[in-house]
Subunit: 462 residues, 2 copies
């Protein structure tokens, strides 16, 4: 940090202290806590952490930061997998921990407005008794504001879409402190530019999301989940492809390879066969679920799948999906002290088998271990390299394998990131993926954050 | 037009003539044809009309126009309902009529890439034999580029979403002639700002769409459509609300009031009861369709609905939906020589009955006639005022009624336009709807079109 930047940071802190009192912290412990996420990226401390209580206070904080050109990074649960919340350039982290209220449930309209730090599980507990649920489920119990900022998805996206499809409106504090509401609660609108979708996925680089209005869904009359092991990875993937192409409305269809199943068994104390495996779930009426399940079971059978092992009781379903959601923690347990470098490519489903098999071949020739788990109904899968981030050789090998994987996905008309975001780790692939379109993103960034204070150094350098 | 502007226009025309030869027209007939859309808005002629053959040529045309600060308006089928394609400030209309090729069908991935002037019906004919269809269906057989630019929807949106959800990627010529591709074919991506959604609904004010990649769907195994008359409007609307709230995945659920049914009967030579009526359609497996239909029929029965009149044969279904899609033409036929002023509010569904009933009360006290038709599953409905646009008294009355309607919808957290766009007619409502957020839209517009040449005078004045 230059002397001038340090002086600015101190002026910012002095003004924020006057505004927030004890709700501004410069303690090492608090700064450390806000220096990192769940990724392999190297932590970096902010200069201070602010704990505002309202959108108005976020606006005041950002106004002060803008005056001193101090970087601002919003923080929800810190569960980013690509360094999105690491304050690379120091400055102020705004921890939205006090934004934990469900503001308004409109059960009749199937929508809800929450403060940004409400987590997906908190929301689902809040609305369960109304017979409603919110389907988007990244592995972590992330904040809904963070999920919107990352354009997150999860296991249900194949049926219900991602945050892109499920955010109706946002309240956003802009880089100069102004506050906007991006849309209203109507299900559709053709009124001007789609600012909701512009801020969804902008990773805090255009503004800070303080409230989120989301679509909700009625809890299906019937749900059934099953696990099916395959003799070959091709068989499992072909089952997925044929299911999607037939238009069977599976709610979830997840692939875990043999390495991943071993990790899951160990961590969650389960005894599934250590084979390439699909986790599937069906939502609908009793008859509809039965019909869907029979169709997919038949497809699996034709592709070398074993019998479906059903989890029909709610607690069995919960156990199954908890095991699935805990893969990051399961993988970390495979090699205590390691970090997970999660790849995140997504390709058109016709290329999925080829993409996975080539990547597994790369992996077989490498000294790194990486379980594979995927939202394969969307064409999205993750390899989780278990690395020691202090070992340059391991970092270099993960870099090499990831770059090969990303270039393979791009050559298949896919993307370097299906749901984790660009963050710090994929900036170098942005131009390879989007070409000249990146200049349009930069123009938008410059127009909305001319000082470059909003989460600087993420998505692209300016 | 100022002398300087006229001189610029002439310079633009000279350069375009050199580029395009006979594919540039300044004939009165061609300019007249490109002076108007299907709305009540007063036509305005462009200075010339260009007929490019490729994205590269569109880029060259825009580059020339940018050099002379000449306005550029893209033209598809001219079926806008809000003046979006009227060249208010003259300049060059780019008619994309030669962009009529389906470029690539990826049946396995359920997507397709088309040139911008391919119409929705043309696409559906092209892919029918593959067992695929594209659901978004505004009344007109509009171009898919125009539908993307307007963020159009139609009768299937309640099940399949709008253009917002169904465009995967766009090729866009920017205001300085550069060409970008907004995304790739992967089903989801978290790679940078969502430029696809930024251009969808931008009404030609940020760039010109030349190619569109769309999601496709398998033609359902079974489809069934029915018509059901109600004794009261409340009964029909309550049927819709309860159907949506129960999560029954209706493919279409459309309301036509008694005035509209009368117009439809006359125009399409049908004999439906002249009552408030729902047109519904179900997609799924044989068993699923049966189950859905029984549920909705029961709900309708509880709300004073008559028996479902089924259209099971494909030709009967086609007749039914053709009649529905032809309402604009049916309404015009009610009063030969009239223009249709179509309102387009969309509200949260819990407020729909109240919004419609209050608007009907306004209408009962007015001298204007306006059939009502609505995509009521989305909370979106249209009143079609039959007006003589040369009669200031009628214009003033339509203005007054529409303004009351829009303000009512906004007070219900709705939007002034569900699917027709802001165009010329709703610019005055944009700030009432979006407040400070309009300044963000303006900032984006200025960043991407600093000269203000892209479809000037639409959405907002700069």
């Amino acid at each position: 940090m230059t002397q001038a930047a340090a002086a600015n940071a101190q002026s910012t802190i002095d003004e924020l202290r006057a505004l927030l009192g004890e709700r501004l912290s410069t303690s090492n412990g608090v700064r450390d806590h806000h220096s990192k996420d769940e990724s392999w990226h190297i932590p970096h401390r902010p200069d201070a952490v602010a704990f505002p209580n309202s959108t108005e206070e976020v606006s005041q904080i950002v106004t002060i930061c803008a005056r001193h050109k101090t970087p601002v990074v919003a923080y929800g649960t810190g569960t980013s997998l690509e360094g999105a919340v690491i304050p690379e350039h120091g400055g102020i982290v705004i921890d939205l921990v006090n934004f934990d209220q469900v503001l308004q449930v409109n059960a009749e309209d199937l929508d809800v407005t929450v403060q940004a730090r409400v987590t997906r599980k908190q929301l689902n507990e809040h609305i369960r008794d109304l017979g409603l649920f919110f389907p988007i489920d990244p592995g972590a119990d992330a904040s809904l504001g963070g999920m919107a900022a990352t354009r997150a998805s999860g296991t249900n996206a194949v049926r219900y879409g991602t945050m892109r499809e499920n955010v109706l409106a946002l309240t956003v504090v802009l880089a100069d402190g102004r506050v906007i509401r991006t849309s209203r609660r109507a299900r559709k609108s053709a009124a001007g530019y789609d600012l909701t979708r512009l801020f969804v996925g902008s990773e805090g680089t255009l503004g800070i999301i303080t409230e989120v209005t989301l679509r909700l869904y009625g809890i299906p009359e019937a749900m059934a989940a099953a696990v099916c092991s395959f003799d070959s990875l091709e068989g499992a993937i072909d089952t997925v492809i044929q299911t999607i192409q037939l238009g069977i409305p599976v709610a979830r269809i997840e692939l875990l390879d043999d390495v991943q199943m071993d990790a899951v068994n160990r961590f969650s104390k389960l005894d599934y066969p250590v084979k390439d495996t699909l986790f599937v779930e069906f939502h609908g009426t009793e008859a509809g679920v039965k019909e869907q399940a029979e169709l997919v079971e038949a497809i699996a059978g034709e592709n070398g799948g074993g019998q479906f092992k059903w989890a029909t009781k709610p607690e069995d379903r919960t156990q199954l999906w908890t095991a699935r959601h805990d893969v990051t923690y399961a993988n970390k347990a495979l090699r205590p002290g390691c970090e997970i470098w999660a790849t995140d490519v997504c390709v058109p489903i016709s290329r999925l088998a080829e993409c996975i098999l080539e990547s597994k071949k790369d992996l077989a020739e490498s000294f790194l271990i990486a379980p594979l788990v995927g939202h394969v109904g969307d064409g999205n899968f993750h390899l989780g390299f278990l690395i020691d981030r202090n070992d340059p050789k391991e970092i270099a090998e993960a870099e090499r394998l990831n770059e090969r994987l990303v270039m393979r996905a791009l050559a298949m008309d896919g993307t370097c990131t299906g749901e984790h975001g660009i963050g710090l780790g994929k900036m170098k692939f942005l131009t390879a993926e989007h070409g000249e379109a990146v200049s349009v993103m930069r123009a938008v960034k410059k127009a909305l954050d001319p000082l470059g204070i909003m989460n600087p150094g993420k998505i692209f350098t300016m």
